[in-house]
Amino acid sequence: MRQRWKEKITPTDVLMWLIGGVILALIIWGSTATLTAGRYTSHHWFDFMIFGLAQGSIYALIAMGYTMVYGIMRMINFAHSEVFMSGPYTAYFVAASFYSSGFLDRHPIMSLFVIFLVSMAVSTLIAVLLERIAYRPLRGAPRLVPLITAIGASFFLQYTFRGLYGSGFQAYPVVKILEGEWMIGAFRILKFQGVVIVAAALLMGGLYSFVQRTRIGKAIRAVSEDKEASSLMGIDINRMIVTTFVIGGMAAGAAGVLYALMFKQVHFFMGFIPGIKAFTAAVLGGIGNIPGAMLGGIFLGLVESIGPSLFLDGLGIVAPYQLKDAIAFIMLVLILIFRPTGIMGERLAVKKA
């Protein structure tokens, strides 16, 4: 018995668990220090939570694209962050023209609807083109090849949009009905954050039920499970892969507008960080697992917004908010090391080589 344990545990494992233990201890220590110091009131925490939820649901929407594409093609669509960027960046011009003509103030719901539609359409178009031109010829190639292609496509798209629309930040127009706040008892919710959370939840619910309930969704799941068997069952695999990219593109386009409404600006490089974070979310929930990606996104958003004040502040770190992104990346690395199947478990774990 002891012999077997010895064989199973290598020095690197021990080292990894030590590192994990140290990080956990630091987190607990920092959190208790912050909580006992009582620098933040419950209102602060509530604000952090709502912000985290809003940001997390955007991550969750993007993560759906990553996770579905990974599920069906077994590749990380590195260029998904550019699919996310392309939609709202293009829709910005629609929004700006609505704003300058006053249409946005007269019919805010209508114009928001059009902005969403344009953004989703552009993102979907980019996603489909990406699949057709860059990924389809590479099916069955060694795994490194599509990944490198995706990285190339990502930079190509970023700098294409930089060339087309310019390299500056564009300020998204303010939508008046989304300004202000709602009060729930003593707690305050900023309107746009509430809207972002609700809209993202509706979209995710819709897309998820599409995948779970409809025939096409069923076919997509079948292709994810086993390509050959499902093609023998008469499923058109190419069509299903394109459909997956369409769904991912739509979700990313919608997430992009929500992101733009929240942070009020768009830029050609805006996709990179949210993209990696959404990928983190997808890994967190177990890549290939749709509900996992949603939960992973929300969890990541919450940790990112609460984390710096909760455990970094307690450790006496100056300006903890600068390390917000580092938290996300550290979480990504830790999950990849300790539990690559994610919190929810990878549905496709058995099939993965």
Binding site: P137, F156, Y165, I337
Partner: protein, 569 residues
């Protein structure tokens, strides 16, 4: 995808693709930016050349795809494709004159329209565009039908004119320094671009040389082979010695600016050779490679800079520590990712790279690492009492580094360790079953790569005299990956070719710099689709991919049907 033999000429489809590419190039701003530089003074600008190349390529493609090998049919196809390309651009001009496209596309400026219409106004200009497109298409069709030798001669001579025009800033100052060449220089180049007679002269010379080589080249090569082996070796040795002495005198020949470019290329060669071990030899895709570059640079800065005042060492005493720190961090960052493969490894290392950048940038570590302001006043290296301060002097430092690192990686490649790396790259499980210690092998790859990168970082810090966290972003990692892949994974000359093509050229062509990453991205995709083994592939790799009989590897790496893979720009 089956090749459908449709009645509808292939030219239309191909032409539409070309049209999209042409309009894309115009709207992205490349045409306008490139028009600053003339290939032949006052005749053809680089922007027009770009579009012309697209037209010729599309015409050729249409001819190739037309399916029937009859002259009129092929010509009709390439004519149509060129016409459609011209039509798309004309449409852009017409629409642009009608709607203010500039509200969305910042490059749709009047200057662009003027360029596209050859300054003849919308109506006449559109007709001219159509004509030029169709002419380009027909020429490409004729080219497709001409004999192999003609094609080769035309391609090299026209290509050399374009290259001479593009690289005029490199060639002109170099020639001007050398007495008799300066006269040729005067005659060959105008203020901006080649002179007309210069271009004609170049055309005649190069086509003559190509013709001679095509007719006699094999005889010359055979003559070389007829020498006895020791003589052949001696000839090769003199070749190497000539190359080496050229490398030694290069900064004196080229002058200050080009030496600066050379030092940058050299730093990237160092980085590339390091990553080549990790990615090319061992097959571990590391996207956070810039972290080691940063670690080398920051170690150098901390140990030497009087601004922080920790140690105040000299460059040479600090250098071993910088490399040692690289090795240590390579192992430390390598341990956690030992069990990961492929995409997970790539993302985890990307995460590491970003974590290090964010930490260095933060106020939290500012007292030690200088935060966003970075660290300054890093002393230069000294040899004896000579300070290596100018690019021309630093060049020798970098050259020495490159030669050393190149030698090490050349010797490592065929060593036991090198073969273990390649075994791990091909199949981890089989390698382990063959008795290769995966942990040690992978960690050695990370450590060696990190050491090279740290060396490059240390030299970079001393060259610049200061380090900032912003110099170490993820783009550097991507650049290095690109140059390795474009050059050919695992190939040492490939790294050098890649560094010259991807780092040196953009430094020389300032107007190109803005589109650098755009072209990189397209190059990566195109490379993966069309030529996954790279420009100068490793011999083993090339044999695997191109020797007859190994169909399996060929389909595995190239995969995908030929016709559809042509579409990747």
């Amino acid at each position: 995808m089956a090749m459908k033999q449709s009645v509808w000429p292939q030219g239309i489809k191909t032409g539409l693709i070309g049209g999209i590419v042409g309009v894309f190039l115009a709207l992205v701003g490349m045409v306008e930016a490139f028009s600053q530089r003339h290939i032949i003074a006052d005749v053809v600008s680089m922007g027009h050349t770009l579009l012309l190349v697209v037209a010729l390529f599309i015409g050729y493609l249409a001819a190739k795809r037309s399916g029937r090998n009859e002259l009129p049919w092929v010509l009709v196809n390439s004519f149509i494709s060129g016409l459609i390309l011209g039509g798309c651009l004309a449409l852009l001009v017409i629409v642009g004159n009608w709607v203010r496209l500039r509200a969305v596309f910042i490059n749709a400026s009047p200057v662009l329209y003027k360029l596209l219409t050859f300054d003849y106004g919308v109506g006449m200009g559109s007709l001219l565009l159509l004509g030029a497109g169709a002419l380009g298409g027909v020429l490409a069709g004729l080219f497709y039908f001409s004999p192999v030798l003609t094609r080769r001669v035309l391609l090299t001579s026209l290509g050399s004119i374009v290259i001479a025009g593009v690289l005029q800033d490199l060639l002109r100052p170099t020639f001007a320094l050398w007495g008799p060449l300066a006269i040729i220089n005067e005659w060959l180049f105008a203020v901006n671009g080649l002179t007309l007679h210069g271009a004609g002269f170049l055309f005649v010379i190069v086509s003559g040389a190509t013709y001679f080589w095509a007719k006699r080249g094999s005889a010359v090569q055979a003559g070389f082979r007829r020498f006895s082996p020791p003589k052949q070796r001696a000839l090769r040795l003199t070749g190497f010695l000539l190359l080496f002495s050229l490398l030694l005198t290069l900064p004196q020949i080229l002058g200050l600016f080009l030496s600066e470019v050379l030092t940058i290329v050299g730093l990237y060669v160092l980085l590339g050779l390091g990553l080549n071990i990790v990615v090319g030899y061992a097959g571990l895709l590391d996207l956070g490679y810039v972290a080691f570059f940063a670690i080398g640079a920051y170690t150098m800065a901390l140990l030497t800079s009087p601004e922080l005042g920790f140690f105040g060492l000299s460059f040479w005493t600090a250098l071993p520590f910088a490399i040692l720190m690289g090795v240590i961090s390579g192992v430390l960052l390598g341990i956690p990712v030992l069990k990961m493969r492929g995409d997970y490894l790539a993302i985890a290392t990307l995460g590491f790279g970003e974590i290090i950048r964010i930490l260095v940038l933060s106020d939290f570590l500012r007292p030690w690492l200088g935060g966003a302001q970075g660290v300054g006043k890093i002393p230069k290296a000294f040899i004896g009492s000579m300070e290596l301060a100018t690019p021309q002097q630093i060049y020798y430092l970098i050259l020495a580094g490159c030669l050393l690192v190149g030698f090490i990686s050349w010797r490592l490649r065929d060593s036991r360790l090198g073969r273990a790396w390649m075994a791990v790259r091909e199949d981890e499980d089989v390698a382990q079953a063959m008795g290769i210690n995966l942990v040690a092998t992978k960690l050695l790859a990370f450590a060696t790569g990190a050491a090279f990168s740290a060396l490059s970082g240390a030299i970079f810090a001393s060259k610049l005299g200061s380090v900032y966290p912003h110099s170490f972003n993820v783009m550097i990692s991507i650049n290095i990956i690109c140059l390795i892949i474009v050059g050919g994974m695992g190939s040492i000359p490939g790294v050098i070719v890649g560094a010259i093509a991807l780092v040196g050229l953009p430094e020389l062509l300032r107007e190109f710099a803005e589109y650098r990453l755009l072209v990189y991205g397209a190059a990566l995709v195109a490379m993966m689709l069309l030529r996954p083994e790279g420009l100068w592939p490793e011999a083993v790799h090339r044999r695997e991919l191109h020797a007859g009989g190994s169909d399996e590897t060929e389909t595995k790496s190239l995969s995908g049907p030929e016709p559809s893979s042509q579409e990747g720009l």
